[in-house]
Symmetry: C2
Subunit: 194 residues, 2 copies
DNA sequence: CGCGACGTTGATTTGCCTCAACGATTGTGG
DNA sequence: CCACAATCGTTGAGGCAAATCAACGTCGCG
Protein backbone atom coordinates (compact mmCIF):
# COMPACT_ATOMS: atom_id res chain seq x y z
CA UNK A 1 0.00 0.00 0.00
CA UNK A 2 1.15 3.51 -0.83
CA UNK A 3 -0.10 5.56 2.07
CA UNK A 4 2.58 8.22 1.84
CA UNK A 5 0.47 10.82 0.05
CA UNK A 6 -2.20 10.39 2.69
CA UNK A 7 0.22 10.84 5.58
CA UNK A 8 1.78 13.83 3.87
CA UNK A 9 -1.64 15.32 3.49
CA UNK A 10 -2.57 14.65 7.11
CA UNK A 11 0.74 16.13 8.24
CA UNK A 12 -0.32 19.48 6.82
CA UNK A 13 -2.88 19.73 9.60
CA UNK A 14 -1.88 17.51 12.53
CA UNK A 15 1.06 15.48 13.75
CA UNK A 16 0.68 11.73 14.14
CA UNK A 17 3.05 9.61 16.21
CA UNK A 18 4.59 6.55 14.57
CA UNK A 19 2.25 4.31 16.56
CA UNK A 20 -0.74 6.31 15.41
CA UNK A 21 0.41 5.96 11.84
CA UNK A 22 0.65 2.20 12.26
CA UNK A 23 -2.78 2.12 13.79
CA UNK A 24 -4.16 3.97 10.81
CA UNK A 25 -2.37 1.72 8.37
CA UNK A 26 -3.97 -1.28 10.02
CA UNK A 27 -7.41 0.23 9.44
CA UNK A 28 -7.31 1.48 5.88
CA UNK A 29 -7.25 -0.23 2.50
CA UNK A 30 -6.06 0.69 -0.91
CA UNK A 31 -8.28 -0.15 -3.85
CA UNK A 32 -8.07 0.31 -7.58
CA UNK A 33 -11.09 1.20 -9.70
CA UNK A 34 -11.34 1.32 -13.48
CA UNK A 35 -12.84 4.13 -15.51
CA UNK A 36 -16.61 3.79 -15.38
CA UNK A 37 -16.78 1.94 -12.08
CA UNK A 38 -18.99 3.13 -9.25
CA UNK A 39 -17.54 3.71 -5.79
CA UNK A 40 -21.00 4.55 -4.44
CA UNK A 41 -24.39 4.15 -6.08
CA UNK A 42 -27.61 5.99 -5.25
CA UNK A 43 -29.46 3.73 -2.80
CA UNK A 44 -26.33 2.04 -1.41
CA UNK A 45 -25.14 2.74 2.08
CA UNK A 46 -21.84 4.53 1.72
CA UNK A 47 -19.33 2.44 3.68
CA UNK A 48 -16.13 4.38 3.07
CA UNK A 49 -14.49 7.73 3.13
CA UNK A 50 -12.06 7.63 0.22
CA UNK A 51 -8.84 9.56 -0.23
CA UNK A 52 -7.75 9.91 -3.87
CA UNK A 53 -4.19 8.74 -4.56
CA UNK A 54 -4.58 9.07 -8.30
CA UNK A 55 -7.35 9.37 -10.85
CA UNK A 56 -10.51 11.43 -11.04
CA UNK A 57 -14.11 10.97 -9.90
CA UNK A 58 -17.42 12.75 -9.94
CA UNK A 59 -20.13 12.69 -7.30
CA UNK A 60 -23.55 13.37 -8.75
CA UNK A 61 -27.29 13.19 -8.21
CA UNK A 62 -29.64 11.79 -10.83
CA UNK A 63 -33.02 13.50 -10.64
CA UNK A 64 -36.37 11.80 -11.35
CA UNK A 65 -36.17 12.94 -15.01
CA UNK A 66 -32.85 11.13 -15.36
CA UNK A 67 -30.80 14.31 -15.49
CA UNK A 68 -27.46 14.23 -13.81
CA UNK A 69 -26.27 17.02 -11.47
CA UNK A 70 -22.64 17.03 -10.43
CA UNK A 71 -22.08 17.92 -6.78
CA UNK A 72 -18.29 17.79 -6.95
CA UNK A 73 -15.25 16.39 -8.69
CA UNK A 74 -12.39 14.72 -6.84
CA UNK A 75 -8.78 14.35 -7.93
CA UNK A 76 -5.47 13.61 -6.18
CA UNK A 77 -5.47 14.57 -2.49
CA UNK A 78 -9.23 15.04 -2.27
CA UNK A 79 -11.69 13.13 -0.17
CA UNK A 80 -14.83 11.71 -1.65
CA UNK A 81 -17.92 9.93 -0.31
CA UNK A 82 -21.64 10.48 -0.01
CA UNK A 83 -21.06 12.09 3.34
CA UNK A 84 -24.73 12.21 4.31
CA UNK A 85 -25.04 8.49 3.68
CA UNK A 86 -21.72 7.78 5.37
CA UNK A 87 -22.38 9.61 8.62
CA UNK A 88 -25.97 8.44 9.06
CA UNK A 89 -25.41 5.03 7.42
CA UNK A 90 -28.53 5.49 5.32
CA UNK A 91 -29.10 4.99 1.57
CA UNK A 92 -27.08 7.33 -0.62
CA UNK A 93 -28.64 10.16 -2.62
CA UNK A 94 -25.53 10.50 -4.73
CA UNK A 95 -23.40 8.37 -7.01
CA UNK A 96 -19.63 8.41 -7.03
CA UNK A 97 -18.14 7.28 -10.33
CA UNK A 98 -14.59 7.02 -11.61
CA UNK A 99 -13.79 9.09 -14.69
CA UNK A 100 -10.34 7.53 -14.98
CA UNK A 101 -8.48 4.57 -13.54
CA UNK A 102 -8.40 5.56 -9.90
CA UNK A 103 -6.49 4.53 -6.78
CA UNK A 104 -8.22 5.18 -3.49
CA UNK A 105 -7.38 4.74 0.15
CA UNK A 106 -10.58 3.81 1.92
CA UNK A 107 -11.56 4.00 5.57
CA UNK A 108 -14.55 1.97 6.61
CA UNK A 109 -17.19 3.74 8.69
CA UNK A 110 -16.76 1.50 11.74
CA UNK A 111 -12.99 1.65 11.57
CA UNK A 112 -13.10 5.42 11.40
CA UNK A 113 -15.23 5.58 14.51
CA UNK A 114 -12.67 3.38 16.27
CA UNK A 115 -9.84 5.50 15.00
CA UNK A 116 -11.54 8.63 16.32
CA UNK A 117 -11.53 7.00 19.77
CA UNK A 118 -7.92 5.94 19.59
CA UNK A 119 -6.49 8.99 17.81
CA UNK A 120 -8.38 12.06 19.03
CA UNK A 121 -6.37 14.38 16.81
CA UNK A 122 -8.03 12.75 13.81
CA UNK A 123 -11.16 14.56 14.90
CA UNK A 124 -9.23 17.77 14.54
CA UNK A 125 -7.97 16.75 11.13
CA UNK A 126 -11.42 16.03 9.75
CA UNK A 127 -12.90 19.06 11.45
CA UNK A 128 -10.49 21.27 9.57
CA UNK A 129 -10.96 19.48 6.26
CA UNK A 130 -14.73 19.64 6.46
CA UNK A 131 -14.70 23.23 7.67
CA UNK A 132 -12.86 24.21 4.52
CA UNK A 133 -15.21 22.17 2.37
CA UNK A 134 -18.20 23.80 4.03
CA UNK A 135 -16.88 27.30 3.40
CA UNK A 136 -16.32 26.44 -0.27
CA UNK A 137 -19.79 24.98 -0.49
CA UNK A 138 -21.43 28.10 0.96
CA UNK A 139 -19.50 30.26 -1.46
CA UNK A 140 -20.66 28.10 -4.34
CA UNK A 141 -24.29 28.60 -3.31
CA UNK A 142 -23.92 32.35 -3.20
CA UNK A 143 -22.01 32.37 -6.47
CA UNK A 144 -24.75 30.41 -8.18
CA UNK A 145 -27.24 33.05 -7.03
CA UNK A 146 -25.25 36.18 -7.71
CA UNK A 147 -23.01 35.46 -10.68
CA UNK A 148 -24.08 34.69 -14.27
CA UNK A 149 -23.02 31.44 -15.91
CA UNK A 150 -20.26 32.95 -18.04
CA UNK A 151 -18.43 34.32 -15.04
CA UNK A 152 -18.95 31.14 -13.05
CA UNK A 153 -17.29 29.26 -15.88
CA UNK A 154 -14.31 31.60 -15.86
CA UNK A 155 -14.03 31.28 -12.09
CA UNK A 156 -14.12 27.51 -12.38
CA UNK A 157 -11.35 27.52 -14.96
CA UNK A 158 -9.19 29.69 -12.79
CA UNK A 159 -9.90 27.78 -9.59
CA UNK A 160 -9.65 24.23 -10.93
CA UNK A 161 -7.44 24.26 -14.03
CA UNK A 162 -6.38 20.66 -13.41
CA UNK A 163 -9.96 19.46 -13.40
CA UNK A 164 -10.93 21.50 -16.42
CA UNK A 165 -8.29 19.71 -18.49
CA UNK A 166 -9.34 16.24 -17.41
CA UNK A 167 -13.11 16.12 -17.59
CA UNK A 168 -15.41 16.57 -20.60
CA UNK A 169 -17.20 19.86 -20.97
CA UNK A 170 -20.67 18.51 -20.50
CA UNK A 171 -19.68 17.54 -16.96
CA UNK A 172 -18.32 20.98 -16.25
CA UNK A 173 -21.63 22.34 -17.49
CA UNK A 174 -23.45 20.04 -15.10
CA UNK A 175 -21.23 21.16 -12.21
CA UNK A 176 -21.95 24.78 -13.08
CA UNK A 177 -25.69 24.13 -13.20
CA UNK A 178 -26.15 24.78 -16.93
CA UNK A 179 -26.62 22.63 -20.04
CA UNK A 180 -23.77 21.50 -22.27
CA UNK A 181 -25.28 23.47 -25.15
CA UNK A 182 -25.30 26.67 -23.18
CA UNK A 183 -21.73 26.19 -22.02
CA UNK A 184 -20.75 25.67 -25.63
CA UNK A 185 -22.36 29.00 -26.53
CA UNK A 186 -20.56 30.73 -23.67
CA UNK A 187 -17.27 29.34 -24.93
CA UNK A 188 -17.85 30.52 -28.47
CA UNK A 189 -18.73 33.96 -27.08
CA UNK A 190 -15.48 34.04 -25.12
CA UNK A 191 -13.51 33.15 -28.24
CA UNK A 192 -15.16 35.79 -30.39
CA UNK A 193 -14.77 38.53 -27.79
CA UNK A 194 -11.06 38.16 -27.71
CA UNK B 1 -24.98 34.21 31.80
CA UNK B 2 -27.45 31.61 30.63
CA UNK B 3 -25.28 28.92 29.13
CA UNK B 4 -27.69 26.07 29.78
CA UNK B 5 -29.09 25.86 26.26
CA UNK B 6 -25.55 25.69 24.93
CA UNK B 7 -24.54 22.88 27.27
CA UNK B 8 -27.74 21.00 26.52
CA UNK B 9 -26.97 21.34 22.84
CA UNK B 10 -23.39 20.17 23.27
CA UNK B 11 -24.57 17.23 25.38
CA UNK B 12 -26.43 15.88 22.35
CA UNK B 13 -23.09 15.08 20.78
CA UNK B 14 -20.40 14.77 23.45
CA UNK B 15 -20.06 14.57 27.22
CA UNK B 16 -18.21 17.31 29.06
CA UNK B 17 -16.90 16.92 32.60
CA UNK B 18 -17.81 19.55 35.15
CA UNK B 19 -14.30 20.95 34.96
CA UNK B 20 -14.55 21.20 31.19
CA UNK B 21 -17.83 23.01 31.51
CA UNK B 22 -16.23 25.51 33.86
CA UNK B 23 -13.36 25.96 31.50
CA UNK B 24 -15.76 26.71 28.69
CA UNK B 25 -17.75 29.12 30.83
CA UNK B 26 -14.56 31.02 31.56
CA UNK B 27 -13.97 31.47 27.83
CA UNK B 28 -17.34 32.47 26.44
CA UNK B 29 -19.44 35.59 26.66
CA UNK B 30 -23.08 36.36 26.34
CA UNK B 31 -24.07 39.40 24.35
CA UNK B 32 -27.33 41.05 23.44
CA UNK B 33 -27.95 42.64 20.05
CA UNK B 34 -30.92 44.73 18.94
CA UNK B 35 -32.87 44.30 15.75
CA UNK B 36 -30.88 45.81 12.92
CA UNK B 37 -27.46 45.46 14.54
CA UNK B 38 -24.60 43.80 12.73
CA UNK B 39 -22.70 40.93 14.35
CA UNK B 40 -20.30 40.80 11.40
CA UNK B 41 -19.86 43.22 8.52
CA UNK B 42 -18.37 42.55 5.12
CA UNK B 43 -14.70 43.55 5.41
CA UNK B 44 -14.45 42.91 9.16
CA UNK B 45 -12.45 40.04 10.53
CA UNK B 46 -14.95 37.71 12.12
CA UNK B 47 -13.80 37.29 15.73
CA UNK B 48 -16.50 35.02 17.10
CA UNK B 49 -18.44 31.88 16.60
CA UNK B 50 -21.87 32.68 17.96
CA UNK B 51 -24.47 30.33 19.39
CA UNK B 52 -28.01 31.68 19.26
CA UNK B 53 -29.81 31.66 22.62
CA UNK B 54 -32.76 33.62 21.29
CA UNK B 55 -33.63 35.79 18.34
CA UNK B 56 -33.04 35.49 14.62
CA UNK B 57 -30.27 36.51 12.22
CA UNK B 58 -29.39 36.37 8.55
CA UNK B 59 -25.98 35.94 7.01
CA UNK B 60 -25.78 37.45 3.55
CA UNK B 61 -23.53 38.63 0.77
CA UNK B 62 -24.02 41.97 -0.96
CA UNK B 63 -22.92 41.81 -4.58
CA UNK B 64 -21.29 44.70 -6.50
CA UNK B 65 -24.75 45.79 -7.78
CA UNK B 66 -25.93 46.14 -4.21
CA UNK B 67 -28.15 43.07 -4.33
CA UNK B 68 -28.33 40.99 -1.21
CA UNK B 69 -28.04 37.18 -1.25
CA UNK B 70 -28.90 35.30 1.92
CA UNK B 71 -26.56 32.42 2.69
CA UNK B 72 -28.43 31.27 5.77
CA UNK B 73 -30.73 32.16 8.60
CA UNK B 74 -29.99 31.37 12.22
CA UNK B 75 -32.42 30.96 15.11
CA UNK B 76 -32.30 29.36 18.56
CA UNK B 77 -29.70 26.60 18.84
CA UNK B 78 -27.91 27.46 15.61
CA UNK B 79 -24.37 28.63 15.16
CA UNK B 80 -23.56 31.64 13.07
CA UNK B 81 -20.40 33.36 11.85
CA UNK B 82 -18.60 34.12 8.63
CA UNK B 83 -16.76 30.84 8.96
CA UNK B 84 -14.31 31.55 6.14
CA UNK B 85 -13.31 34.79 7.80
CA UNK B 86 -13.25 33.20 11.24
CA UNK B 87 -10.98 30.27 10.44
CA UNK B 88 -8.52 32.19 8.28
CA UNK B 89 -8.85 35.47 10.24
CA UNK B 90 -9.25 37.40 7.01
CA UNK B 91 -11.81 40.05 5.98
CA UNK B 92 -15.38 38.77 5.84
CA UNK B 93 -17.28 38.32 2.58
CA UNK B 94 -20.56 38.11 4.43
CA UNK B 95 -22.62 40.21 6.80
CA UNK B 96 -24.43 38.83 9.80
CA UNK B 97 -27.37 40.96 10.89
CA UNK B 98 -29.98 40.58 13.62
CA UNK B 99 -33.59 40.45 12.44
CA UNK B 100 -34.87 40.55 16.02
CA UNK B 101 -33.49 41.30 19.46
CA UNK B 102 -30.97 38.51 19.78
CA UNK B 103 -29.00 36.88 22.58
CA UNK B 104 -25.78 35.19 21.56
CA UNK B 105 -23.10 33.21 23.30
CA UNK B 106 -19.82 34.07 21.64
CA UNK B 107 -16.49 32.27 21.55
CA UNK B 108 -13.51 34.29 20.49
CA UNK B 109 -11.24 32.79 17.85
CA UNK B 110 -8.19 32.63 20.10
CA UNK B 111 -10.15 31.23 23.02
CA UNK B 112 -11.61 28.54 20.82
CA UNK B 113 -8.16 27.45 19.73
CA UNK B 114 -7.17 27.24 23.37
CA UNK B 115 -10.29 25.31 24.22
CA UNK B 116 -9.57 22.85 21.42
CA UNK B 117 -6.21 22.16 23.09
CA UNK B 118 -7.67 21.75 26.52
CA UNK B 119 -10.88 19.93 25.62
CA UNK B 120 -10.13 17.64 22.67
CA UNK B 121 -13.70 16.38 22.53
CA UNK B 122 -14.71 19.87 21.42
CA UNK B 123 -13.03 19.03 18.14
CA UNK B 124 -15.40 16.11 17.85
CA UNK B 125 -18.35 18.31 18.65
CA UNK B 126 -17.59 20.87 15.99
CA UNK B 127 -16.61 18.18 13.50
CA UNK B 128 -20.07 16.68 13.80
CA UNK B 129 -21.87 20.02 13.66
CA UNK B 130 -19.99 21.14 10.60
CA UNK B 131 -20.32 17.78 8.91
CA UNK B 132 -24.08 18.12 9.16
CA UNK B 133 -23.97 21.69 7.91
CA UNK B 134 -21.82 20.64 4.98
CA UNK B 135 -24.21 17.87 3.98
CA UNK B 136 -27.12 20.32 4.10
CA UNK B 137 -25.14 22.81 2.05
CA UNK B 138 -24.32 20.26 -0.66
CA UNK B 139 -27.96 19.27 -0.84
CA UNK B 140 -28.96 22.88 -1.23
CA UNK B 141 -26.60 23.26 -4.19
CA UNK B 142 -28.05 20.24 -5.93
CA UNK B 143 -31.58 21.34 -5.10
CA UNK B 144 -30.99 24.75 -6.63
CA UNK B 145 -29.86 23.05 -9.83
CA UNK B 146 -32.48 20.32 -10.10
CA UNK B 147 -35.66 21.69 -8.54
CA UNK B 148 -37.77 24.63 -9.77
CA UNK B 149 -38.40 27.60 -7.50
CA UNK B 150 -41.96 26.67 -6.57
CA UNK B 151 -40.90 23.31 -5.18
CA UNK B 152 -37.89 24.79 -3.43
CA UNK B 153 -40.25 27.18 -1.68
CA UNK B 154 -42.50 24.34 -0.56
CA UNK B 155 -39.48 22.40 0.68
CA UNK B 156 -38.29 25.44 2.60
CA UNK B 157 -41.68 25.87 4.26
CA UNK B 158 -41.74 22.25 5.31
CA UNK B 159 -38.14 22.19 6.49
CA UNK B 160 -38.02 25.51 8.34
CA UNK B 161 -41.57 26.40 9.39
CA UNK B 162 -40.25 28.41 12.34
CA UNK B 163 -38.11 30.58 10.13
CA UNK B 164 -40.84 31.07 7.55
CA UNK B 165 -43.09 32.61 10.20
CA UNK B 166 -40.45 34.98 11.49
CA UNK B 167 -38.79 36.55 8.48
CA UNK B 168 -40.28 38.72 5.72
CA UNK B 169 -40.95 37.09 2.38
CA UNK B 170 -38.45 39.08 0.46
CA UNK B 171 -35.72 37.50 2.54
CA UNK B 172 -37.04 34.01 1.93
CA UNK B 173 -36.98 34.84 -1.78
CA UNK B 174 -33.37 35.91 -1.46
CA UNK B 175 -32.49 32.68 0.38
CA UNK B 176 -34.18 30.68 -2.37
CA UNK B 177 -32.28 32.58 -5.04
CA UNK B 178 -35.30 34.32 -6.59
CA UNK B 179 -36.78 37.82 -6.53
CA UNK B 180 -39.49 38.91 -4.13
CA UNK B 181 -41.81 39.54 -7.07
CA UNK B 182 -41.42 36.03 -8.37
CA UNK B 183 -41.99 34.50 -4.95
CA UNK B 184 -45.13 36.55 -4.67
CA UNK B 185 -46.34 35.09 -7.98
CA UNK B 186 -45.53 31.57 -6.83
CA UNK B 187 -47.57 32.16 -3.69
CA UNK B 188 -50.57 33.45 -5.58
CA UNK B 189 -50.34 30.40 -7.86
CA UNK B 190 -50.29 28.10 -4.84
CA UNK B 191 -53.38 29.79 -3.44
CA UNK B 192 -55.32 29.59 -6.71
CA UNK B 193 -54.48 25.96 -7.36
CA UNK B 194 -55.90 24.88 -4.02
C1' DC C 1 -52.20 61.48 9.63
C1' DG C 2 -48.40 60.29 6.74
C1' DC C 3 -44.41 57.76 5.94
C1' DG C 4 -41.62 53.61 5.41
C1' DA C 5 -41.50 48.75 5.04
C1' DC C 6 -43.57 45.04 2.87
C1' DG C 7 -46.27 42.61 -0.51
C1' DT C 8 -48.81 42.26 -5.04
C1' DT C 9 -49.76 42.60 -9.93
C1' DG C 10 -48.92 43.32 -14.87
C1' DA C 11 -46.00 44.27 -19.06
C1' DT C 12 -41.82 43.41 -20.99
C1' DT C 13 -37.25 41.39 -21.38
C1' DT C 14 -33.62 38.01 -20.87
C1' DG C 15 -30.74 34.10 -19.52
C1' DC C 16 -30.89 29.72 -20.08
C1' DC C 17 -33.33 25.35 -21.69
C1' DT C 18 -35.15 22.10 -25.17
C1' DC C 19 -35.03 19.93 -29.30
C1' DA C 20 -32.95 18.80 -33.49
C1' DA C 21 -29.39 18.52 -36.69
C1' DC C 22 -24.82 18.41 -37.77
C1' DG C 23 -19.33 18.10 -37.28
C1' DA C 24 -15.12 16.16 -35.28
C1' DT C 25 -12.60 12.75 -33.02
C1' DT C 26 -11.68 8.29 -31.33
C1' DG C 27 -11.67 3.48 -31.09
C1' DT C 28 -12.97 -0.96 -32.51
C1' DG C 29 -14.16 -5.03 -35.10
C1' DG C 30 -14.43 -7.06 -39.64
C1' DC D 1 -7.01 -0.26 -42.94
C1' DC D 2 -11.37 1.10 -43.69
C1' DA D 3 -16.35 1.36 -41.92
C1' DC D 4 -19.12 2.85 -38.74
C1' DA D 5 -20.65 3.58 -34.14
C1' DA D 6 -19.89 6.02 -29.88
C1' DT D 7 -18.75 10.01 -27.58
C1' DC D 8 -18.26 14.70 -27.37
C1' DG D 9 -18.85 19.34 -28.93
C1' DT D 10 -21.23 23.00 -31.86
C1' DT D 11 -24.96 25.65 -33.92
C1' DG D 12 -29.64 27.41 -34.63
C1' DA D 13 -34.77 27.97 -33.84
C1' DG D 14 -38.09 28.40 -30.58
C1' DG D 15 -39.85 28.35 -25.77
C1' DC D 16 -40.12 29.04 -20.82
C1' DA D 17 -38.78 30.29 -16.08
C1' DA D 18 -37.49 33.94 -13.78
C1' DA D 19 -35.69 38.90 -13.83
C1' DT D 20 -36.62 43.75 -14.39
C1' DC D 21 -39.27 47.75 -14.16
C1' DA D 22 -43.11 50.25 -12.73
C1' DA D 23 -47.27 51.04 -10.38
C1' DC D 24 -50.21 50.31 -6.73
C1' DG D 25 -52.27 48.35 -2.12
C1' DT D 26 -51.69 47.70 2.79
C1' DC D 27 -50.37 47.75 6.92
C1' DG D 28 -48.04 49.19 11.44
C1' DC D 29 -46.10 52.88 13.74
C1' DG D 30 -43.90 57.44 15.09
Amino acid sequence: MNALPLFDYIARYITLTVEEQHLMLANINQRRYLKGQYVVQQGDICQFESFVLSGCLKSFYVDPDGHEHIAMFAIENWWVADLGSFIKQKPADYNVLCLETTELIQIHHEKLEELYQKIPSLERFFRIIIQNAFVASQDRIVQSMSVPAKERYLTFRKKYPLIEQRVPQYMIASYLGITKEFLSKIRSQLIHEQ
